[in-house]
């Protein structure tokens, strides 16, 4: 009995250590004074300062943020539309198939997604000249496609939880369908939209593989720059950059999760 109780906290501790010690080490070493990554030379925020002086990294960060913002927003609109179709349009025989196909990009290997998108872009360029070359636009399109799946899944679950009679009540009280959407539906699913957007934003910010496939000259995202720098040897500067990214992504995910959790108490019938 006692053993069991002692075992559980230890197992929990080990599990979390396994997950988070590498990240903690990385963050700690980002404050390393020494130029050698593996040798502790005292505390310093020097490398963060260095980071802000590096135009290549700043440029890449700016591109990444823009791509994340645009593709998250596009994915939000398209994913929400998909979620509406999948929850609100009655039953039709291929609906489960459609639903599965919307969610498929979640489990599709990124290498395959990246490769297939690359082939598509090349073929499209050959056929009607758009998108001209690979770069910013193609990354946005690629990120939108896989972020859409996340938004669709999150919004879909919120919509199917929603008590549709509150929309009927609004209609009954004289609100036209568009009015019902903005007065009732939108506020109800807003937390899901918010968390879907944040999730998409962080996913886009994280992505290396797909971006590497569909990117072209002049459009290197932050993860791409980090990866190419690391290949030349890890520098404390990269540690600092990685720590910042962890911070941004963690914040995004935390807000997304909080939004989903605090969403209005399910109305008890």
């Amino acid at each position: 009995m006692n053993n069991k109780f002692r075992f559980l906290p230890i197992a929990t501790f080990l599990g979390f250590a396994f997950l988070y010690v590498p990240i903690i080490v990385l963050v700690v070493f980002s404050f390393n004074k020494s130029k050698l990554v593996t040798v502790w030379g005292g505390f310093s925020a020097h490398w963060y300062g260095e980071l802000l002086q590096d135009p290549q990294i700043l440029g890449a960060a700016w591109i990444s943020l823009q791509i994340a913002f645009i593709s998250a927003s596009l994915a939000l609109v398209l994913g929400t539309l998909a979620a509406f179709v999948l929850t609100r349009i009655g039953r039709f025989w291929f609906k489960p198939l459609l639903s599965g196909m919307t969610a498929a990009p979640l489990v599709m290997p990124e290498v395959i997604t990246g490769l297939s998108l690359l082939l598509l872009f090349v073929a499209m360029e050959a056929m009607f000249g758009w998108p001209a070359g690979r770069g910013f636009t193609t990354i946005v399109i690629a990120h939108t496609t896989f972020c859409l799946a996340y938004v669709a899944v999150v919004v879909q679950s919120r919509l199917s939880d929603m008590d549709e009679s509150i929309e009927e009540a609004a209609r009954d009280l004289g609100a036209k369908p568009v009015r019902v959407f903005f007065d009732i539906t939108l506020p109800t699913i807003a937390p899901a939209l918010m968390s879907g957007w944040l999730l998409s934003f962080t996913l886009s910010l994280d992505d290396l593989v797909i971006a590497s496939f569909v990117s072209g000259p002049g459009a290197s995202t932050l993860p791409m720059v980090i990866f190419s720098k690391v290949r030349l040897g890890v520098s404390p500067e990269i540690n600092a950059l990685a720590s910042l990214m962890i911070g941004v992504v963690a914040l995004g995910v935390a807000i997304a999760a909080w939004q989903l959790l605090k969403s209005p108490q399910k109305s008890k019938a």
Binding site: I166, A169, A170, R171, D172, K176, R179, P187, S267, A269
Partner: protein, 380 residues
Amino acid sequence: MSAQTQLAADEKPWRRAGEKPFIRINRLTKKFGEFVAVDDVSLDVYQSELFCLLGGSGSGKSTLLRMLAGFETPTSGTIEIDGQDMANIPSHDRPTNMMFQSYALFPHMSVEQNIAYGLKRDGVASSEVSDRVADMLSLVQMSDFGKRKPDQLSGGQRQRVALARSLIKRPKLLLLDEPLGALDKKLREETQFELIKIQESLGITFIVVTHDQEEAMTLATRIGVMNYGEIVQVGEPPEIYEYPTSRFVADFIGSVNMFEGRVKEDDKDYVRIASDEAGTDIHVGHGVSCAPDQKLWFAIRPEKLELRRKRPDGDFNILKGMVEDVAYMGNLSVFRIKLDSGKIVKATQSNRVRRDDEAISWDEEVYLTWDETAGVVLQS
């Protein structure tokens, strides 16, 4: 003989010939695929009525209500409200409002905003809106709760807000879907009478859907009993209870003892039914239109049976059996009596004295008898 003739015609509009109905449902049918939810229903409801649609789940009562509100489109048939055909009128333009079973309060709006919503959609001036919201809040005794959100209210309070919200536009017709279904028994009983009071003071026509026969009996001016998408009987509560026209209605409303039998003697003033199930001849003190030897059913309510230890005189309307079970319910006791034929008969006696040592108890041999006009003869 017909039951209706026994009820004297008076000022009630549905009893007057030629009275114009306020709501006219004509041959309304709704199919979902192959499933017929509402089957060729015709019904007239009059101004200021509190009409109850009563039925079990899947009887089509909610679908009928939703067609009145405009949430479902009829497969065929017409609905007319105050002389106006509802066919092409969307729900947001109908002179009806609905109170939902789940109350469907807007969770992100306060009580006041919820109630005001309908008026705002109509573009009513905001000073008038706040006056009318205040009136409504006081009508449902919720004046102190205007600023609260729905999730800060109890079930009974939410029910009041939902009622206020559905009444504020002064609809010609208010539709209520199981309005008291989510309340506990005590609160439900109190609220029933309040609902009637509000309905009477506003004079709005109510159509209430419920599966609770007691609720229907308490609330309704008239009840429409639904089964498998059809309205099987329409009538005032006593009429439905005392003069059901089918075995379904007799069984659905209250509890009943049913005996199968065959016509033995058929006279202008009485019929005699032979029933093996009852083990006695049943004498009915009025004429019944039937064929000789026709199979029919005799239904009698448990409270109309008289319980005795000694065999009564006569050779009809006497059941003999053994008390199998006695359930003490407080105000009355329910006896389950097993007849010689094996049929179980229910009889109730009200407990007029606090303690009765002479009371009939388990395993006693008893006789049951009833007045010749106490039951009904059913042909279907």
